[in-house]
């Protein structure tokens, strides 16, 4: 079974969000990496990029497929995980830790309320199974 940590927020398109102070850390879920298989390339947005909620903002490419990553909420990219360039497999081995993609500053902190909590995301996975 895919891991779904209780302290994160989720999107229907399988991104996760962790609140760290004023910033949000964004990644893709264990379920997503498991379906994608071995990651080989990650394309991340430049810091400073303004993201619109639900719009594509990064690409993860596995041996099997290329997939867009969508911005969970509107905001601005502050940092990217540069270590992924040489170790894309980190997304497979540690999707909620060292496999984070980027951090962002949300345009509206309240926008987080529109995301799924862990039980809701688990229910989504169950319905897709």
């Amino acid at each position: 079974m895919s891991k779904v940590p209780g302290d994160l927020r989720y999107t229907k398109s399988h991104e996760w969000v962790r609140v760290e102070g004023q910033a949000l850390v964004v990644g893709i879920t264990d379920h997503a990496q498991d379906l994608m298989g071995d990651m080989v390339f990650i394309e991340l947005p430049r810091p400073g990029t303004r993201l619109a909620a639900g719009k594509e903002c990064a690409v993860v490419e596995s041996v099997k497929a290329a997939s867009d990553v969508y911005a969970p909420v509107a905001g601005e990219v502050t940092m990217i995980n540069e270590a992924l360039a040489n170790a894309p497999e980190t997304l497979n081995t540690d999707p909620y830790g060292n496999g984070w993609l980027f951090t962002m500053k949300p345009a509206d902190p309240a926008s987080l309320q529109g995301l799924l909590d862990a039980p809701a995301y688990e229910a989504l996975l169950a319905s897709e199974a």
């Binding site: 298989g37 080989v40 690409v59 099997k64 497929a65 290329a66 867009d68 897709e128």
Partner: protein
């Protein structure tokens, strides 16, 4: 292959790919795969393991140590009778008269009258009145119907062997593991074999054949005994490897995959398989079409492509060079080269070494270079990547 039907080159939201929807046929090793945590996918109508966790790790295991593949979805078919040899000389584009010594194997294509490839297969010469074919899973039923429809004047019987299972053990340590995992007689038989040769030990057939570009062998065995055989190899440290690794290994080795690099709409001459066509003066199905094609000039050819930067080559991608358009027939990421590689069908004028551009994801153009496959053999890179840093 399977992974490409999932990939379909596009910008897809995460996880829209479909896994198996309907239950397919199962091989006798199905339970072993499930127990080992395999991700199962449909391939040629069979539920097969895509990987057991990481297809890249499985790929490296085969290049560096040894891996074991369930290839029981492939179908063994016996061709038996007094006319077995003349019959196969008429049915196959390669000439089984090259097989002089029992046990020798030959790779070749089954063609239709238009010279299109119905399937590619390995034929083993077992006895003057007995040849064994091993054909692909998807086309198997069509092959068997075709073989039976063309027995005509020949005294032959066509007998599919769904009672046999097949595993491939591949990699530099495959033979070492076999010393413990195979029965004594089977191991002794294996040790006497030259490459592309097989032999019986009792009812079990072992052959030095494979689809990875590594040393190794394949075992055709009673379906009821294969799970025990599988477990003995795994106990020797041989790594279960799925279809994902099988695809990247064969692609690095420059080997075609039926249904992708060739099918009934293209000839072997356009598919990098001219070396498997023995025109000679023998009559065989498809010969006239190949002779006509050769006379007017083979319009397209199959060769390799390697990306000059980051990216993954995907089956179905278009490409363009000074000579016009071409298409990727197989593509992936080469774990050995850490580079996107593929097989491409291009105009006859395209030369290896030429640069070209691949249409990647929408808006993405991938710089690439044509290269003669294979890319990797026996663990060694054969493509010079110098001056093309990532």
């Amino acid at each position: 292959m399977i992974v490409d039907t999932l990939a379909a080159v596009g910008r897809e939201p995460l996880c829209v790919e479909r896994e198996i929807s309907l239950m397919g046929h199962r091989t006798p090793l199905y339970e072993e795969h499930v127990k080992a945590g395999a991700r199962m996918v449909d391939f040629g109508g069979f539920d097969m393991p895509l990987h057991y966790g990481s297809q890249i790790a499985e790929h490296h295991a085969v290049r560096r140590h040894a891996g074991i593949f369930d290839v029981s979805h492939m179908r063994a078919v016996e061709v038996q009778g007094a006319d077995a040899r003349p019959y196969l000389r008429y049915l196959l584009a390669n000439d089984v008269d090259k097989l002089g010594v029992p046990g020798k194997a030959l790779y070749g294509c089954l063609l239709n009258e238009d010279g299109g490839v119905l399937d590619d297969l390995i034929v083993y010469y077992l006895a003057p009145d007995w040849f064994r074919l091993v054909v692909n899973a998807g086309p198997a039923e069509g092959d068997i119907a075709w073989l039976r429809a063309h027995t005509g004047r020949f005294a032959v019987a066509i007998t599919p062997r769904p009672d046999l299972a097949m595993v491939a053990v591949q990699g530099p340590h495959a033979e070492q593991a076999a010393a413990q995992a195979l029965a004594g007689g089977e191991y002794e038989a294996l040790m006497r074999l030259a490459p592309f040769q097989g032999a019986f030990a009792g009812d079990t057939f072992v052959a030095r054949t494979g689809y990875t570009g590594e040393a190794g062998f394949e075992v055709l065995i009673d379906a009821r005994e294969v799970a025990a055989l599988w477990r003995r190899f795994v106990a020797q440290g041989v790594v279960p490897a799925g279809l994902g690794a099988r695809d990247t290994l064969r692609l690095e080795a420059g080997m075609n995959l039926y249904g992708h690099d060739m099918d009934a709409t293209v000839s072997p001459l356009e598919s990098g398989l001219a070396w498997t066509v023995s025109l000679g003066d023998r009559e065989f199905i498809g010969r006239a079409a190949l002779v006509r094609e050769r006379e007017r000039g083979v319009a397209r050819r199959l060769t390799g492509v390697v990306l000059r930067g980051p990216g993954v080559v995907r089956s179905g991608q278009g490409l363009r060079g000074a000579w016009g358009p071409g298409v990727v027939t197989s593509g992936s990421f080469s774990p050995t080269l850490s580079r996107g590689i593929g097989l491409v069908r291009v105009p006859g004028a395209a030369a290896d070494g030429d640069v070209c551009e691949l249409a990647g994801r929408p808006g993405q153009v991938l710089e690439a270079r044509l290269v003669a496959p294979p890319f990797v053999r026996q663990g060694r890179a054969l493509i010079d990547l110098e001056g093309e840093g990532r």
